[in-house]
Symmetry: C2
Amino acid sequence: MGAEVLASLIAELPDGMVVTDPAVTEGYRQDRAFDPSAGKPLAVVRPRRTEDVQTVLRWASANRVPVITRGAGTGLSGGSTALDDSIVLSTEKMRDIVVDPLTRTAVCQPGLLNAEVKKAAADYGLWYPPDPSSYEICSIGGNIATNAGGLCCVKYGVTTDYVLGLQVVLADGTAVRLGGPRLKDVAGLSLTKLFVGSEGTLGVITEVTLRLLPAQHASSTVVATFASVQAATDAVLAVAGRIRPAMLEFMDSVAINAVEDSFRMGLDREAAAMVLGGSDERGRAGTEDAELMAAVFAEHGAKEVFSTDDPQESEAFVAARRFCIPAVEGKGSLLLEDVGVPLPALGRLVTGIAHIAAERELTISVIAHAGDGNTHPLIVYDPADAAMMQRAHQAFGEIMELAIGLGGTITGEHGVGRLKRPWLADQIGPDAMALNQRIKQALDPLGILNPGAAI
Amino acid sequence: MGAEVLASLIAELPDGMVVTDPAVTEGYRQDRAFDPSAGKPLAVVRPRRTEDVQTVLRWASANRVPVITRGAGTGLSGGSTALDDSIVLSTEKMRDIVVDPLTRTAVCQPGLLNAEVKKAAADYGLWYPPDPSSYEICSIGGNIATNAGGLCCVKYGVTTDYVLGLQVVLADGTAVRLGGPRLKDVAGLSLTKLFVGSEGTLGVITEVTLRLLPAQHASSTVVATFASVQAATDAVLAVAGRIRPAMLEFMDSVAINAVEDSFRMGLDREAAAMVLGGSDERGRAGTEDAELMAAVFAEHGAKEVFSTDDPQESEAFVAARRFCIPAVEGKGSLLLEDVGVPLPALGRLVTGIAHIAAERELTISVIAHAGDGNTHPLIVYDPADAAMMQRAHQAFGEIMELAIGLGGTITGEHGVGRLKRPWLADQIGPDAMALNQRIKQALDPLGILNPGAAI
C-alpha cells in the first residue's frame, strides 16, 4: 500500500484525524486479548462525526483497505486486533450524548464509556442497566458491537434489549438510520438487532438511541460461601428457579483468595466458592427475596451466609466481584474465557473446568454471572514458559469444547473476535455458519470490515 | 402451473397434507386484513414436522412457487394474504410444546396459540408475558413473525425479548438452528433476532425456544376517565415518566361506548377517553404505584378515578380493553391501523387522527397501548358505500403519514404485511429499504417467500 493512497485519505479528513506516528499507532494494535500476532496498521483514524466515518469507508472500499473499528480497546476476544496495512478506526473522540427524560431515551455517539452513559442518565434520575465488569473503561459502541452483558443482566437483559435505534455506516460509506426513539416499531426487518453483536463486521455504528429505565431501587445483597462448587451451583439453580434476582454471581476459591490478597475484606479463604445474590425489588419484597436467597443458600449447606441492606456494604461485595479479573491477573497472564451453558449444566461446566485445569497442570479460576449460566474461566499462565503457554491454549480450546458439549456457547457476552473464531462452527454448525456468511457477503461484499473476526 | 407439478409435491408428503379442495382452501385466502384482492392458491399445505416444511420449500424453490406462511390467520396487515398459484403453508398442525421449568424455557412448534403457550407455562407456575389482545386466537408462530406486542409490553417487552432460539427452514429447504436455551449467547450474528419480525419473508419458523418468567404477581388496576383526549395522553406521559406500569392503556369515547353497548359495565359514556393503568409490583409497592397513578390522573383533571386490587375487577377492565376491536367492529367494517410515536407526540397523534376523521367524514376510534406510544386507530366504513370506502382508505394513508411526520412508525406490533407496504419507504427511507432488500436477496434469491409482503 503506497503512501500516496493514504495521502488521499489524509487530504479528505480534518487535520490530525489520521495518525501515522508509530509511537501512537502502536497503542492501537491490540485490545485486551493482547494478541501477539497483531498487525501493523497503515494508520489510526479518530473521526468525530458520522461524515468522517463515511469518508473513511468510501476510501477503504475504493482502495480495498481493511477497517478495524475500535472502541475503548477493552475487548477480550481480539475483536479489534489490528491487521497489517489496515485502518484502525477508533471511535474514542465521538463522545456526544443527549438524554431525553420525556421519552426516557439517550442518543449518543459510540466513544462514550458505559460509565459515562450511566452517569448522563443518572443526572436525570434515569438508569442505563447493562453493566459489564469493565463498565468504567469500556465504550458503549464496543458494548453494542459485542452485545455486552454484565451483572444485572440476569434480571434486566443485555445490551440489545436497550438499543432502540442505530446509525450505521456501511462498507461502501452509506449512512443508514435503523429504528429510533419508538418503544415499539416493527416496520421492516429487525436490522437494529442484527447490527448489535456484529463485532464491526457489518458496518460502523456512529450513533445509538438507548432506552433508559427509572433509577434502580436500592438492593438487598446476600453473600454465601460454600465448601463445594457443586453446592454453590445447585444453590444458584434453586434461587434462579424461584425468584428474579437482580444479581446472582459466583466466584471460586482462586478468585476469593486473589481478591482477598488485594482487598483484605475478610472473605473466607477456605471456601470453595462464594455466591452473591441481589434483589432490587421495592420495600418488603426486596427483603423477602433476600431472606429467600439466604434460606436457599443455608439449605444447600452454605458455610456462612451474610445479608445486608446497606448500600455501601453491598457495593463492597459487588466491587470485589468486579475486581476478580484484575486480582487474578496478579498471578500471571490470563487467557479469558466467556463460556455459557443452560443453567442446569452450570455445575458440570465448573467441575469439568477443574478437571481440565488438573490435567493441564494449570490454575484456572472460574467467576460467573451464574444466574445466566455465563462463566468466565481465567486461565493463568506465565508467558515466559512456552510449555505452560501451550498447555494454556490447549485448555482454552478444551473449555470451549466442554461448553459446546453441554449445549452451551463459546461466548456469552465478550464476542467471538479472532480468539474464538476457530470454535464458532463447532457451536453453531455449518448451516448457521453459511447463513452468517451470506449476511456478511450481502453487506460487505469486498470483505473490508474487520476481516477475520467473528464470522 | 400444471397439476403434474403439484402432484410431485403431493407424492412427497404424507397423505392428506396437501389440500386442494376449493371449499377448504377458500378459508386460507385471507387473514383478518380481509384483502379483497387475495389470490387463489394452488394448494394449502399443513405440515406437522420441520421435514415436511423442508420438502415444501425444496419443491417450491425447484418450481419457483411462492410460499405464504400462515399461522392462525389473525394477522391484521395482510401478511398472509394468498397469491394466485402460491402455496399457503399453514402451521396449524404443528402444535407440540415442552416446558422445562429448570431452565425456564419452552420449546414449541409455531402453530400453538399464544394462550396455549401461556397455559403450558402456567402449568409449571411460569409465565410467557407477550399478550396481544388476540392472544386467545393468534399463533405463537405468527407472533414471532410479526414481533407481536400487547398490553404488558410497556414493562415486559415484546416477543423478540422472549425468543432465545429458533429453527427456521430457508427458501432452499435447509433447516437451520439459531440460538438456543442459553440466556446469554453472542456467538455469531444475531440471526435469531433477524428472523423475529421478518413476516415470512426470510424463512419458515418451525420451532422456537422461548424464555419464561416466574408467574406474574397480582396487579393493582386504576381506571380513569377524562373530559379531553389531551388530558388523558398528558396523564399517560406523566405516569410513564415516573414509574414502570405493567399496563398503560387508552380507549377513546367511540371505544368506550362500543364496549359499553356490549358489556354494560357502567363505563362513563360521556367521557372523551379512558386510561387503564396497572402495576404488578409486589405487596406495598404495587399499592404505591396504584396510588401514584390515581394521583396523577386526578392532577390531570380526571372525571372519575377507580382503583382496585381485586383480580376479577381488574380482569373485567382488561377484558373491556381487549374487547374494543370486536366491539367497534359492530359498527361496520374496519381498517385497522397500528401507528406509534415517541411518547411525547401521543397527544398530537390522537388529536391529528380526530382531524382526519372529521375531514374525511368518518368514525375513527382510537385505542392504544398508550405507555408505548402505540395506537390502534380503527377506521369504520360501510363496504357497500364505495365513496366511504375510498375515504376510509385515504384516511388510512393519512394516519400513517401523520405518524411518520411525528417521528413515528406505521406499525408498532402488527407488521407491514401487504396493507402498509406502500408507506414503508416513507418511514425508513431509501437507504434502509435498500439494506432490507440486500438481506432479503441474500436469503431468498428466488423471491419465493411471501413475495410482496413487508419489504
